[in-house]
Amino acid sequence: MSMLPLETATHSEQLRRVVIEPLSRVEGHGKVTLLMDEDDHVQQARLHIVEFRAFEKFIQGRPYWEVPVMVQRLCGICPVSHHLAACKALDQVVGATQLTPTAEKIRRLMHYGQILQSHALHFFHLSSPDLLFGFDSDVARRNIVGVAAAYPDVARQGVLLRKYGQEVIRHTAGKRIHGTGSVPGGVNKSLTAAERDELQKDIYQMIAWSRDAVRLVKKLFEQDLETYRSFGTFEARTLSLVRADGAMDLYHGGLRAQHADGSTIFDHLDYGHYWEQISEEVKAWSYMKFPYLRALGHEDGWYRVGPLSRVTRCDFIPTPLADRERREFMAFDDGRAARSTLGFHWARMIEMLHSAEAIKDLLHDADLLGSDLMASGPRQARGVGVIEAPRGTLIHHYRVDENDQVARANLIVSTTHNNHAMNVAIREVAKKYLDGRKITEGLLNHIEVAVRAFDPCLSCATHAIGKMPLEVQLVDAEGTVVHSLVRGSK
């Protein structure tokens, strides 16, 4: 039977529908639908994510200087990324084309703290149960408490790495949440010697644990090479920021887009005019837009962002331990690991190691204690800020009117960039693992494993008790629910 592309089935009305969805739209949610025929063959697979689109209305008319604080309320898990991307855009509005060394280094420290804590949380808390126990292992065991029982050090280190990243954020942003450390044109505080000394105490332990985590992922690949090599794997174009010399730079750089074979689409592109290269397509079946590279058109121009793209497409990582691990990753299994969807986990841990090393270097830089915090220049009406957030490239774009109010705002978040790539991943998984088989919880979890590898932002900024479940329903051709599973908090 023909299985590709699986985006749209013919005669869908005759098919059985499997839906994986959370119950509420409030926090922004994801839903997977699989259409199966009478013989359990997959005819269509789609991932729907309800994109958060009320932002423009929320922020229009607000004074621009409020924006870096307000945007932190968009996402409870990576507020620092929105905080910094907004500030980078608004730096241009206040004419600060070159930040002071202290301001840039404080912001970088904040950003690397964010990457460290986010990657630690994702790997240790969300993904490690699948990876350590297997995708279709007993669901009662496949949770973080199961990990704690079998791998106590892994569970504990994950929490403490996360806590350390939060402490970096607290010292640089000024507060535990709703930080105000970064402002258009610079920062409003540097580190005190006491704050720096406190962070220095534990950083070498964080580097060591991060390195152990990279090795743990490598061991997982070695133990089940065939699964890791092929699970949800597909060829993809990539997009990421790189430094002028081609190095990985998660805070600032030019945009690099490459074909799956590594050949260049564009390189070191000034993101100030990103819209000349990137456009967004709307599809009738999804609330979320599908970005694409204009040069290749909307059918062929989709791409993937995030740790796997950044690690594999930079020329080198500018910290020694992470770069050594990057080279090992790139060479492993004749380069197949670096092309695999589960390679996201390996790349994510390499970035965590890089972030820990970068934090260590910054904590030994005297500029962190400096007092020259702000820059300014001729006022501009428009600003674009791009940053590599934990989940991938994040674009903030603002137009500010003569009254200092935001007249227009546009955001393209990492999960939107990855929309098409995630759909391809679940189709690959559906084709290989679900097609022709009776659906079980373990098989449905394979779909979720593929989605989790991307760490999509499914739950922005609110989480009220009772509003977080993820429901999986198997519905027959008559619309009768024949099987149902519920995930998530109570």
Binding site: P79, L121, H125, I177, H463, G466
Partner: protein, 161 residues
């Protein structure tokens, strides 16, 4: 983290109020609203922490406490509020974005190797969670009832520690 600092070096307040919510998302602001009132009251022996969402590191906030009460907006619970004990429990997640109070307690257990403090959850019924909205009228009413309950709970539990 240094091993010596895992239990807080300075003795923490025996009672922790851990309020959760996003003040820009309608009734999700119920937790921060009650937390702000409590901070203004500055009760001895009570520390108030406000978060967007519960996360694994919140387990470390429980170290050295006698009791903790989580305060959060809720849907599908009785109006105006529900106060109940919570126990450590594992959960299987589809997202890295938030934990339940039960999962925070389970995290405490696995990180420290000990039993978490006695924990309670005050769920305040919310109705609307849209971005940029303030508290709904019904949530305002629920907040007043929950505030009285929270003060009662603190009067008996903070004094008892």
């Amino acid at each position: 983290m240094s091993e010596a600092r895992e239990p807080a070096a300075i003795s923490p307040a025996p009672v922790l109020v851990l309020a959760v919510g996003n003040p820009s998302r309608g009734d999700d602001a119920l937790g921060p609203e009650l937390a702000a009132r409590l901070e203004a009251a500055a009760l001895p022996g009570v520390e108030v922490i406000t978060e967007f969402q519960l996360q694994v590191e919140n387990a470390l906030d429980l170290v050295g406490r006698e009791r903790v009460i989580f305060v959060d907006a809720a849907t599908g619970t009785p109006a105006p509020y529900e106060l109940r004990r919570v126990e450590a429990a594992a959960e299987f997640l589809h997202t890295s974005h938030a934990l339940s109070p039960e999962a925070v307690l389970a995290t405490y257990r696995r990180v420290t190797g000990g039993e978490p403090p006695e924990a309670w959850l005050l769920c305040v019924r919310g109705e609307s969670f849209e971005l940029g909205e303030g508290l709904s009228s019904m949530a305002e009413v629920h907040a007043e009832a929950a505030w009285l309950e929270l003060r009662r709970w603190l009067a008996s539990n903070a004094a008892a520690v």
